[in-house]
Symmetry: C2
Subunit: 301 residues, 2 copies
């Protein structure tokens, strides 16, 4: 089944204790769609880049089988760019700069042929842009929404409008606490479910992720990694793989969403092992299958 | 099989956002032995109390089937007492006071009949006292050691001597990082295993626990709780149930230790729901079995 991904495309500056990367391919739509492309075939990409966006990145996305019909390539202006520096603990980071470039006036336009996409993944962008996507799509099977602390801080009202219209909300533990003003994560999760979505997926970094519905709870650990080189895009990667698995199977049951959480964790674990998109640039099916089966091994008792 | 438990017995002052309790039954040996008593029958208690220790607590422990042959009841002096205040997040606490009382000059004496106990649980007390226990016991099937940040800070040398002689080390994530000076928990766990124990169990509070050996890894979530009234003794309870399950089954394989981790998590989840020992004062077998099976439900994918 088809997956429509809408989000940002970026050329990032990344600084972590393991090194520096300039002009690194990034953005929520990029990570989401690349991750999804490992699990399903019909991935549809909506985003915007500037004149400086290297052809090699276009080629890479195309080679991954991602349909770029919805990618606007502006003849002038620069691609969105974010600069970030991770602290030694890898859990906190400083934003060094944010240059919106062509993204400043971006309004997602969904091609007519894509308006009936089965799965819609609202990648991490301003909630008002996510709403514009929802206004254009027709009867999707499932809408999944990712977000971040920035929007909870500056656009909470818009975000809450979006939440009323999504099926699955994906966010991290800090964001869940911020959005609900609740310290206890179970209480926070239950409050999120009262805001609209029927499923809340709360990511906890090295502690894994939980999936909550009104009457079920699922907890998955993170894959045990000694080396995390660059956490950028891990959340987007998780969301992309989550939706990718659901689209591959066409099954939106809670039971199948548990598997989707594990696929999200598997792809995210590859993502953070290298800078930028490099950790998920060229995975084989066997790599993914092996790590998925490792999740069974490390959780069985 | 028999479980020898050595640790502190206390009358605590507890203050949490949910209330205050004075003269609350506490101490590592207390929580450890009560938890173990739900899973196995031959639990042997070594500790010390003062003249002020209420008979009702003795009666309670006896009723739980715990053998108090090793409990020294001093005719004079006060029982060890700790006063603690938990902050709103329940994850941090201030020690208000520590009155050692009769515990100050305590040296554990293992009754002759108990020197060949199958399982030895070194509850959270000074490492030099833990070492005194090890000097007295003969060929135990398994030695499990609990510890805390205090001993890592002030008696690390003694602790490291103990670690060379234990099979399983149980501690929390903060303590694992402190003892190894490593931020990454996998790296920290691997370093712990090089200090002596063949198994490291790292507790992560609301994020569950992991069990590591040189070549295996197991991750268990915590039981999802909306209300935590008093975390005191949760770690001791975990350790007691962990050993209790191993003693009940007589099986010290890594596979069986995974089940022991889940039993530890089950009993700890009951513990924190009430003040002091009250959460594990009167559990039925069905309560434990039900929550154990819930752990399967919340981790299955």
């Amino acid at each position: 089944m088809s997956v429509l991904v809408v989000g940002s495309v970026a050329l990032d500056y990344l600084e972590t204790p393991f090194g520096v990367m300039e002009q690194a391919l990034g953005g929520s739509a990029t990570f989401c769609s690349v991750a999804a492309s490992y699990l399903t075939s019909d991935v549809r990409f909506v985003g915007i880049v500037g004149a400086d966006f290297p052809q090699k990145h276009i080629d890479f996305l195309t080679k991954r089988g991602i349909d770029l019909l919805g990618l606007v390539r502006e003849a002038e202006g620069k691609t969105f760019s974010w600069g970030g520096k991770y602290h030694d603990d890898m859990n906190t980071r400083d934003t060094l700069y944010t240059e919106l470039g062509v993204f400043e006036h971006f309004h997602p336009v969904i091609p007519d042929a894509w308006k009936q996409s089965d799965f819609v993944l609202l990648g991490n962008i301003h909630p008002s842009l996510q709403m514009e996507v929802l206004e254009q799509i027709e009867q999707p099977k499932l809408v999944v929404c990712d977000t971040m602390n920035l929007w909870i801080n500056i656009s909470q009202k818009d975000l809450k409008k979006v939440l009323k219209r999504v099926d699955v909300l994906i966010l991290n533990d800090e964001e869940a606490r911020m959005l609900t003003d609740q310290r206890n994560l179970i209480t926070a999760g239950n409050m999120l479910l009262r805001m609209g979505p029927r499923v809340a997926v709360i990511k906890k970094g090295e502690h894994g992720a939980v999936l909550m519905t009104r009457d079920t709870y699922f907890a998955s650990p993170a894959f045990p990694l000694e080396t995390v080189k660059d956490p950028t895009g891990a959340g987007d990667t998780f969301a992309g793989a989550f939706v990718g698995w659901l689209a591959r199977t066409g099954d939106v049951s809670t039971a199948n969403m548990r598997k989707a959480v594990v696929y999200g964790s598997v792809l995210a674990s590859f993502c953070v092992e290298e800078f930028s998109i490099d950790g998920i640039r060229a995975l084989g099916e066997e790599h993914i299958a092996e790590r998925f089966s490792m999740f069974r091994k490390i959780t069985t008792f």
